[in-house]
Each structure stands twice: as structure tokens, then as C-alpha cells.
Symmetry: C2
Subunit: 126 residues, 2 copies
Amino acid sequence: MRGRGPRSRRHHHGHWSVHARVERFTEPALLLLLRERPAHGYDLVERLPELTGDQRVEMGNLYRLLRALEEEGLVESEWDASTPGPAKRRYAITPAGTHLLEHWAEALRRSQERTSEFLKRYEERG
Amino acid sequence: MRGRGPRSRRHHHGHWSVHARVERFTEPALLLLLRERPAHGYDLVERLPELTGDQRVEMGNLYRLLRALEEEGLVESEWDASTPGPAKRRYAITPAGTHLLEHWAEALRRSQERTSEFLKRYEERG
DNA sequence: CTCATATATGTGTCTTTTACAGGTAACGAC
DNA sequence: GTCGTTACCTGTAAAAGACACATATATGAG
């Protein structure tokens, strides 16, 4: 239970850091960015904080996630060597990905309601 | 990436199940229930769905979580053998737990804002 | 040329959290 | 006795995330 990672929240002077992130939120965030326009991984890493907050997403995990999404048919990709510098793998969303994003949006709305009820109940008896 | 668990979402006929739960949400839910009144584990398991939705929380993990919270000084407990049936361990929230719950509430409000921005952006270009 | 930096994609591995599958024990109803 | 309910607990594996490291192309400073 101890060590680094999400549960390691103890800070100086008895303060705690709590982040309250939605599980696997990177997935709908990627799908939303890719629905707006195709992009490659490095580009997505730079634009993800617009949706996730200022938290940086781990590059390695992001590339793995993109390949997993492609295996499941939610995105598709091809190499793009047209620009100078290292070759990029350009990802685009598929119809299945758009469909899943829709389900994510519904799930996030339900999550909003649950959290609202939690906060209401929290504030009722402060 | 395959197998059972949170990422195993493929259902019949191309449908997917997405849940959008807040990470470690059981922790603030427990703290809120315990702020309202002391309780024992089995009782908490029955009342947690009021906050988490209809999803059932795993008993084993709940007892482990309660002991972890106690180790961190967020709750305290004592055995209660006054009632018939098996002895219960009665948990109560500590001042540190109340303080952490406050941070959770702030974090959840920030999470609400991020999710609202996500949904707004999602609906802008539907 | 060499070195540092930025771009771009990856692998390896550990921890945390959650899921799942059990086990032990007290008590009441039958 | 044994069945169901209450109540607590352990073991273990998978998923997601955190962190460290590896590889390669290009550009600019010196």
C-alpha cells in the first residue's frame, strides 16, 4: 500500500494531495482530440493537458494506449515521413471510436450527477 | 491489455460498457458516510451504493481499505461485541480524516469543472 | 565535427487499485 | 444438523499508471 503512485499523497506539514481523476480518462480525451482532427502521439501529448488539466500524460503509456486502441479498431494509423525530423505515426478516429466516445460522454454525464450528489450531501452537513 | 477487469468492455453486438468512475472514489465515500455517523464494515458496504451508484463494492477490498485508512490515522476503530452475532469493528472518522475529506471535496469540484469542459467541447462539434 | 536540444516513438518494470475467488466464525430459524 | 444471514478476513491476478531508460532524426551553438 505504501510507496510512490496515486496513493502516496502525504506532503509536508500534514497536507495531502488528492486528484480525483476519472479512471482511464486519457482514453476519451484522446478520442475527442482525434475526432477534431487526426494527429500523431507527440502532438497529442502536448494537447492532452487542455482536457486533463495541467497534469502531464506519460509518453510511454500514451503510445501503448494508442496501439491498444488501434488493436480494438477505435483508431487507425499510418506512418507519415513527409515532414522533416523523425517519422510520425498519424492516428485518426474510426466510426467505432466515435461510437465509443459517445458512450464515454454519457458515462461522464452520469459521473457528473453522482459527484454532484456526493458534494451536495457533503455540504448539507458541513 | 486483454482479459477481465475495467478494460474488458466489449459486449454483444458491438456495444461497449464504459463506467467513468472517479479513481479511489470509495475512499471519500467512506469518509463521508463515517462523518455522518460511526459504522462497521458490513454496514458501510450496504450504504456505499447510495454514493457510488448501484455498483457493489468488494467486501475484501473494503476491509483492507478501512485498515489502510486507520494506519494513516484517517479513521479509528474498536471491537464492538455488545450486539448479538459476530463481533463488529466500529469505525469512526478522525480530525485528519475530516480534513482529507475536505480536500477530496475540493478535488471533486475541480474534477466536475474538467468534465464539464470536456462535455462542452464534445457537444460543440457533435 | 561535436554536443546539446527538440522531435518522435518506443520497451521494461514496479506499484497501486481493483476484481475475483475463496475461508472463518457467530447466531437464528427450521 | 444445516441452511441462511451477518461479519470479518486472506490470496492472487489483472489493469492502469509511474518511472526509468532506449532509439533515431534533425537543428542549431560552439
